[in-house]
Amino acid sequence: MKKGNDHGKNKYGMVIDIDKCTGCGTCMVACAAENNVSVRADQSDKERTITWMNLYKISNGKEFPHTEVSYFPRPCMHCDHHPPCVSVCVSTATKLDFNTGIVSQIYTRCIGCRYCQAACPYGARYFNWWDVFPQDKGMDRYLTPEVSPRMRGVVEKCTFCHHRRMRAKTLAYAEDRREIEEGEYVTACTEACPAQAITFGDLNNPEHEVSKLIKHPFTFRLLERIGTEPKVYYHSTRDWIRKLGDNFLPGEYTPVVNQTWAEEEWSTKPGRDEF
C-alpha cells in the first residue's frame, strides 16, 4: 500500500478565507441541496442532524464591547495521511482515493457500526438514524439523480462533490480533452459562497490558486498536529482565530508577525488585531 498520495495525479483541496467568510450558512444549504441530504422536523439535535458542511461558531471570548465571533466552515477534511476513518472501517466502506485525494464513502458497503464516526477528529461524519426525507410531502421532487439518497443505518459525509468531478470529466471528454482545467471542478459550497471565501483546486498543481494559498503564513489547518494532513486549509489575518485552530498549551502558540510570502510583503500590521 502506498503511504501517501504524492504520486497520485491530483490532490484536491480547499482553502477557506475566514476573513471573507460572513457566517451566512449558504455553503451548508448549498451542500444539503446538492447532495440530497435528509431534512428532519427537529434539526436542533446537532448530533443527529446531517450537515456535511457545518459551521462551528467561535468567539474571541473577550468582554463586551471587544467580543468578536467568527466561524469555521467544516466540510470533511479529506485527511491525506492515514485518515482515521479509513483505518478503522471494518467493511472497507470508506477509502482514500490516491488519484484525487478524496476520502470516499460507499454506502452499500457500510454496515452502520459508526466506528468511523467515533474516529473522526473533526466530527465530519453523520449517521442516518432515520429514513431519508419526509415521506408524502412532495419534497422528493427536488432530489437530484446525480447523488444517491442514503438509506437508514449508514454513515455519510462530504465527498468533495465528486459527482461534479465526474460531470466535469464527462464534459472534458466530450470536448476531446483528457484533463480538466482549474475551476471546471469545484464543490457546491465553493460555488455557492457569496463572498468567494472558498477556493478549491488541485494541491498537486502549482498553477492552481489553492497550492499558492496554502503556502501563506496566515494559512493553517484544524488540529494540524495530530498529523492527519487535512486537505482543507483555513486562512485568517486574525491571531485569535488561528489560535483556535488547534489546542495550544499556554505559550505554545506563536503568532505570525512580519513574515514574507512570495514577492509581497505581508504582515499582521495593520491587521485587524491592531486596528
Binding site: D19, K20, T22, C24, G25, M28, V29, A32, A33, N36, V39, A41, D42, Q43, S44, D45, T51, L55, S59, K62, F64, P65, T67, E68, V69, S70, S91, A93, Y107, R109, I111, D131, V132, K137, G138, M139, D140, R141, Y142, L143, T144, S148, P149, R150, M151, G153, V154, E191, A192, P194, A195, Q196, A197, E264, S267, K269, P270, G271, R272, F275
Partner: protein
C-alpha cells in the same frame, strides 16, 4: 473424541482461525449491509435531460440572479448566476433553499379555498377559481352598492413600485377605497429622508463597491441588508488580497456583536436608538476640526450656517446645533460610547478619500427612524459624499411608464374622499404614505371593525409586524379576510378565502431597484417550472378580479393578462434608451465606464428589448459619471438641506390649524423651531415604568433565517446553532454580567415580560450582547406552516411595545422595556 479442556480450546481456536480463512465473515458483512439497505421506500430520483433556466430570485427585494438546474420537468438545484449584475455568483441561504418552498406541499395552498374550520385552525375546503371570484366580487360589489367602498382594505407586501403593487393600488382606487397600506421597511425611511433632504422620493443608492470607508449605522451588511448577493460579494472583494494593502475599511455601529460587527474592521456599540446622536457627535468633531468638505457645503447645501429669514428672524444652522449639543462628551452620555472612540471614528471618516455613511436597522425589512437617517445623511453631506463615486449617488428613477390614468365612477370617487384609517398623509404625518400600525389601531380601537373586507397580498402581518400582536387582534375583528398568499402562513390561516398566488419559481414578476443598489435595475423573474398546483399569478388574478367586479372597475384594467401590464410599464424603459439587457462579468455595473466606452444595448425595438429582458431577467444602467449639480436637488432651496424646509412648512401649516404646542406634540416632536427641521437626537419615550421593566428587548435578524412573509426553507434549520434554538425553545442572548445580576445560567428557562406580553425562552450567555439588553432572534415562533417551522421558538414581535417615530409615525420597535422572570 472426549471433550477435554485442550480439545475444546483447540476446536474453538481452530474454528475461529478457520472462519478467518474463509470468505464467510466478509460475505456475511457485505450481505447484511446490502440486505439492510434494500428498503423499497428509499427514493431513486428519476434521471432525464439536464437543463438550466436563468431567472431572478424574488424572495426578498434584493433580486439576485439565479440559475435553476432542472432534470426534465423537475427543478433540482438553485445556484447563483455569474451573468447577473446584482450578485456575481452568490446568493443567500434562503434563496439557496428555495426549492423547498416550491415542493414542500404542506407549506402551500394547492388551489383556491374557503375556510372550513375556526379562524387560525388552517382548515380549508378547495373551491374553483370561478367560485372564488364570485364570492369576492360579490362581496365587493355589495359594499360598493351600499356606498361604503372604503370598508375594503388591502395590505400589500409587494415592494413599492413593482407592477403587481401598482395594479393592486389601482384596483383599490378603482373600487373606491383609500385604505391601501403596506408593511413598513427601511426603504420607507430612505424615501422620506431623501424627500426631505434631497427633494426626491428616490431609493437610496449607496456606492459601496467604490468606497474606501464604509461607516454602517446599524445596517446588517452580513445579516441580509440590501441585496445579500451583492453586499456579500462586495465583502469578499473588500477582503481580497494583502490585508496590509486593503483599500476599504468597514466600521459597524451596532449594540450587538453580530456577524457584521465581528467581521468589520472596527465595531462601535452605542445604546440602541442612539445611532443618530453618535453620527452627530462625529459631525461635531469633523466640523470643529474643519475637516468637512467646505465646497460641497457652500455650493450645494443649505441650512449649514446660521441664517436670517426675509422677515428678519434669526435661525440656527446645522453647524451651531451640532457644535452646541453634540460634543463627544455630550454624545458619550447619550450613547455610552467612549469620547475617544468618537473622535477616532470621526477622524477615520474624515481622512478617507471616498467615505460613505450608510443607515439601516438590521435587514431592510423593518423601518428605521427619520432623524437617525437624517443624521447619517448629514455626515455624507459634510464630507461631500453625495453625487460622488464611493458615496451616495443620485441616479434618475427607473423610467417605467405610467399606466393610463384611471377613471373612477361616482361610488369610487365618494369613497376615495373618506379619510384613510391610518391617517397617513394628514397634517400629523405629512410625509408618510402608509402607516400600518395606525391602521391596526383603528380597527382595534373601534368596537366594530371599520374594515369589512381585508385583502392581504404577499404579506404576513400577523407574524412580521413589530406590534405586540396588535394585527392579530385586528384580524379577529375583521368580518372577511382574503389572502393571496401561496403559503399557509399565519395571516392566511385567519382568512376566509384563499386565492393562492404561484411561488416565485412558477411565475413572471418584476423587481424594481433592489434596496441600496447604486444604479437603476429592473429585474424580471420567469416561470422556471409550470405551476405545480391550481394557483394563479396574483397579477393575473387582480386583473381578472377587476373584470369580475365589472362596471368601471373592470374598464380600468384593459390588459389581457399580467404580462401585458408588465410590458405596458416597460415601454418607458425602451423610450428612455441606454439600458442594458445582458451583463458581462468583466465589466461590473458598479465600475464607472468612461463616456462612450461602456457596453451598448443591442436591441433596436421594444419587442427585441422585451425578449432580452425576458431571457436575461434584467434591464439596468451601469453607474455613470457624477451628474450635473444643476437641478439635482429638488428641495425648496434647490440644494441639499441640512435643515429641511418641508418639515418647517409642515409644522407651520399644522400650527396654523391647531396650536403650535399641540401640533408639535401630535407630530411626536420634543424639539422646536429649527432643531425640529434638522437631524437631532430625541430620547424615545420610555412608555413603561423602568423600575418594573429594567431591561430592554431588541429583536435581531439573521441571514440564515427568514423573518419576513416568506417561510424559511427547512434546510435553514440545519444552520441554526443549538444555542439559538433547541427543540421548541429559542434563546435570548444576554450578557453574562446581566445574567449574573439576575442569577441566570446558560440554558435556563425564563419568561421575558413586557407591557405588551410575554414569551418563554432559554438563556444564552453571550459576551457580545450589550449589558442590560435582551436580544431575541426574529424568524422563530411560527404558529402556522408545517412541522418544520411550526412551534419552534417564540416571535419577539409579540412582545414589542412600539412608540412612534417623530414626524414619520413609524413604530419605534427597538425600545421595548422588559423584565426577566425565572420559570
Amino acid at each position: 473424541m472426549k471433550l477435554t479442556r485442550r480439545n475444546f480450546i483447540a476446536a474453538v481456536v481452530g474454528g475461529i482461525a478457520g472462519i478467518q480463512a474463509t470468505p464467510l465473515p466478509w460475505k456475511i458483512t457485505d450481505d447484511v449491509a446490502i440486505w439492510t439497505q434494500n428498503w423499497p421506500w428509499v427514493p431513486v430520483p428519476p434521471t432525464g435531460e439536464f437543463t438550466e433556466v436563468s431567472s431572478v430570485c424574488n424572495l426578498c427585494p434584493g433580486g439576485c440572479g439565479i440559475a435553476v438546474k432542472k432534470v426534465d420537468e423537475r427543478a433540482v438545484k438553485i445556484e447563483g448566476r455569474t451573468d447577473y449584475p446584482v450578485n456575481p455568483g452568490g446568493i443567500c441561504p434562503v434563496g439557496m433553499g428555495g426549492l423547498q418552498l416550491l415542493y414542500d406541499e404542506s407549506l402551500r395552498f394547492t388551489g383556491p379555498m374557503k375556510r372550513a374550520g375556526l379562524r387560525g385552525a388552517g382548515e380549508f375546503t378547495e373551491i374553483s377559481w370561478g367560485e372564488a371570484f364570485d364570492i369576492l366580487a360579490g362581496r365587493i360589489s355589495n359594499l360598493r352598492k351600499k356606498g361604503t367602498p372604503e370598508a375594503i382594505a388591502a395590505v400589500d407586501g409587494n415592494p413599492e413600485g413593482t407592477t403587481v403593487s401598482v395594479l393592486i393600488k389601482r384596483l383599490m382606487k378603482a373600487m373606491g377605497s383609500p385604505n391601501y397600506v403596506r408593511p413598513l421597511s427601511i426603504t420607507d425611511t430612505y424615501r422620506m429622508g431623501n424627500l426631505l433632504m434631497q427633494g426626491t422620493l428616490a431609493p437610496m443608492a449607496y456606492d459601496l463597491e467604490n468606497s474606501d470607508y464604509v461607516l454602517s449605522f446599524g445596517c446588517g451588511l452580513l445579516e441580509g441588508w440590501g441585496a445579500p448577493g451583492r453586499v456579500m460579494n462586495a465583502w469578499g472583494m473588500w477582503h481580497d488580497g494583502n490585508p496590509a494593502k486593503r483599500k476599504t475599511r468597514i466600521v459597524q455601529v451596532e449594540s450587538r456583536a453580530s456577524n457584521t460587527a465581528s467581521k468589520a474592521d472596527m465595531w462601535v456599540a452605542p445604546k440602541p436608538g442612539t445611532d443618530g446622536a453618535l453620527a452627530l457627535g462625529l459631525a461635531h468633531v469633523i466640523i470643529k476640526s474643519g475637516q468637512y468638505d467646505s465646497r460641497f457645503v457652500a455650493d450645494h447645501s443649505s441650512g449649514f450656517d446660521d441664517w436670517r429669514s426675509l422677515e428678519g428672524t434669526n435661525h440656527i444652522g446645522f453647524k451651531t446645533l451640532v457644535l452646541e449639543k453634540y460634543s463627544p462628551e455630550q454624545v458619550a452620555k447619550i450613547t455610552g460610547v467612549n469620547p475617544k472612540t468618537i473622535v477616532s471614528l470621526a477622524k477615520g471618516f474624515a481622512n478617507a478619500k471616498a467615505p460613505v455613511a450608510i443607515y439601516g436597522k438590521g435587514k431592510d425589512s423593518l423601518n428605521g427612524s427619520l432623524y437617525e437617517f437624517m443624521a447619517v445623511q448629514s455626515l455624507n453631506a459634510l464630507k461631500g459624499s453625495i453625487n460622488r463615486s464611493g458615496g451616495v449617488l443620485l441616479p434618475d428613477p427607473i423610467p417605467l411608464s405610467n399606466l393610463p390614468p384611471l377613471e373612477v365612477d361616482a361610488i369610487a370617487s365618494e369613497g376615495l374622499k373618506r379619510p384613510r384609517l391610518d391617517q397617513a398623509g394628514t397634517m400629523r404625518y405629512p410625509f408618510t404614505d402608509s402607516l400600518i400600525n395606525n391602521f391596526t389601531d383603528a380597527i382595534n380601537r373601534n368596537p366594530k371593525s371599520p374594515v369589512d373586507t381585508l385583502l392581504v397580498f404577499s404579506a404576513n402581518p400577523f407574524f412580521t409586524l413589530p406590534d405586540g400582536g396588535g394585527f392579530k387582534n385586528a384580524l379577529e375583528k375583521v368580518p372577511f379576510i382574503v389572502s393571496f398568499s401561496p403559503y399557509r402562513d399565519e395571516t392566511a390561516n385567519m382568512a376566509d378565502l384563499i386565492l393562492p398566488d404561484c411561488t416565485y419559481l412558477e411565475k413572471i414578476d418584476d423587481i424594481v431597484w433592489p434596496t441600496g443598489l447604486q444604479y437603476p435595475l429592473y429585474g424580471l423573474s420567469k416561470p422556471v417550472v409550470e405551476p405545480l398546483y391550481n394557483t394563479r399569478n396574483t397579477g393575473d388574478v387582480v386583473i381578472e378580479l377587476s373584470r369580475a367586479i365589472g362596471e368601471s372597475v373592470g374598464s380600468g384594467f384593459p390588459w389581457e393578462n399580467f404580462e401585458e401590464a408588465l410590458q405596458a410599464r416597460a415601454k418607458g424603459l425602451f423610450d428612455a434608451g441606454g439600458g442594458l439587457v445582458s451583463y458581462d462579468p468583466d465589466a461590473p455595473a458598479w465600475q464607472r465606464q468612461k463616456a462612450g466606452n461602456g457596453p451598448k444595448p443591442g436591441y433596436k425595438s421594444f419587442d427585441e428589448m422585451w425578449e432580452g429582458i425576458q431571457s436575461g431577467g434584467m434591464w439596468y444602467r451601469p453607474v455613470s459619471s457624477p451628474k450635473s449639480w444643476q437641478g439635482l436637488f429638488n428641495t425648496p432651496s434647490g440644494k441639499f438641506e441640512f435643515c429641511s424646509k418641508l418639515i418647517a412648512q409642515a409644522i407651520e401649516h399644522y400650527s396654523n390649524k391647531i396650536s403650535k404646542k399641540a401640533a408639535l406634540k401630535n407630530m411626536g416632536l420634543a424639539a422646536i423651531d429649527d432643531e425640529a427641521c434638522m437631524a437631532h437626537y430625541q430620547a424615545p419615550k420610555a412608555g413603561a415604568d423602568r423600575s418594573v421593566y429594567p431591561l430592554l428587548m431588541l429583536p435581531y435578524e439573521m441571514i440564515n433565517l427568514a423573518s419576513g412573509w416568506i417561510p424559511s426553507p427547512p434546510f435553514l434549520y440545519k444552520t441554526i446553532f443549538e444555542n439559538q434554538l433547541l427543540k421548541d425553545k429559542s434563546f435570548a442572548a444576554i450578557n453574562p454580567k446581566t445574567a449574573a445580576k439576575y442569577h441566570l445560567e446558560e440554558g435556563e428557562l425564563v419568561v421575558v415580560k413586557s407591557p405588551a406580553g410575554e414569551v418563554e425562552v432559554r438563556i444564552n450567555l453571550f459576551e457580545g450582547a450589550m449589558p442590560g439588553i435582551v436580544y431575541l432572534p426574529l424568524g422563530f415562533g411560527h404558529t402556522a406552516y408545517d412541522e418544520f417551522l411550526k412551534g419552534k421558538g417564540v416571535n419577539p414581535n409579540n412582545i414589542v411595545q412600539a412608540g412612534q417615530d417623530p414626524i414619520s409615525g413609524y413604530p419605534v420597535w427597538w425600545n421595548t422595556p422588559v423584565k426577566l422572570v425565572k420559570v
